[in-house]
Symmetry: C2
Subunit: 113 residues, 2 copies
């Protein structure tokens, strides 16, 4: 078993084309012994965003704190604490924090073998 | 894609031997198109608990609200908002809400084929 608290985890800047003020920490992954899927935490500074992109695996997300927006295939959905969402494999998507709020969310993905 | 908010989801009592005042809702599962893993929400009323049991699949959990305790293999860990944990396959475990607090947490499991 592994247990922790998100406030204790150090964050790493996300280094990708098209990203702005986004930070990541792995909560439950290979090092913690997760067999099938990986829980990550993302934090976006106010106005920050992830890249607009797509890939062959899904996201399951849950908003912990703050406000922002999720774009999926050109449609925009508002994010607030308690929002959960599935981004399906192949769907173009982008997460953006509100200009006056950071955005903290969990993003769970399949484990890469 | 699928999007929702936990406050909008109706909860169903958990019907298992050894359970007390525990409620579940599936947030992202088969009906929502989740390909590999299922996000569920659990709510335990003050003093409520899940059964003490074990099974062949893992849990990845994240505490959304309230306080309580997680027992894994006879050891006890405190739960508060922001706590995340991995319960590995085969580990005996039980979730219990504090006597004066409900406990709301996400529990993600592999999808059953």
């Amino acid at each position: 078993m592994h247990i922790g608290t998100i406030v204790d985890r150090s964050l790493t800047p996300v280094e990708m084309d098209g990203v702005k003020d986004a930070y990541i920490s792995i909560l439950l992954g290979n090092e913690e012994g997760a067999p099938n899927f990986v829980m990550r935490q993302f934090r976006l500074a106010p106005g920050g965003h992830t890249p607009q992109h797509d890939h062959s695996w899904e996201h399951e997300i849950f908003v912990v704190r703050g406000r922002g927006e999720l774009m999926v295939e050109g449609k925009f959905f508002s994010l607030q604490p308690g929002t959960f969402a599935l981004v399906e494999p192949g769907e173009n998507h982008q997460f953006t924090a509100a200009e006056d709020s950071e955005l903290v969310f969990l993003c769970i993905v399949p484990r890469k073998e």
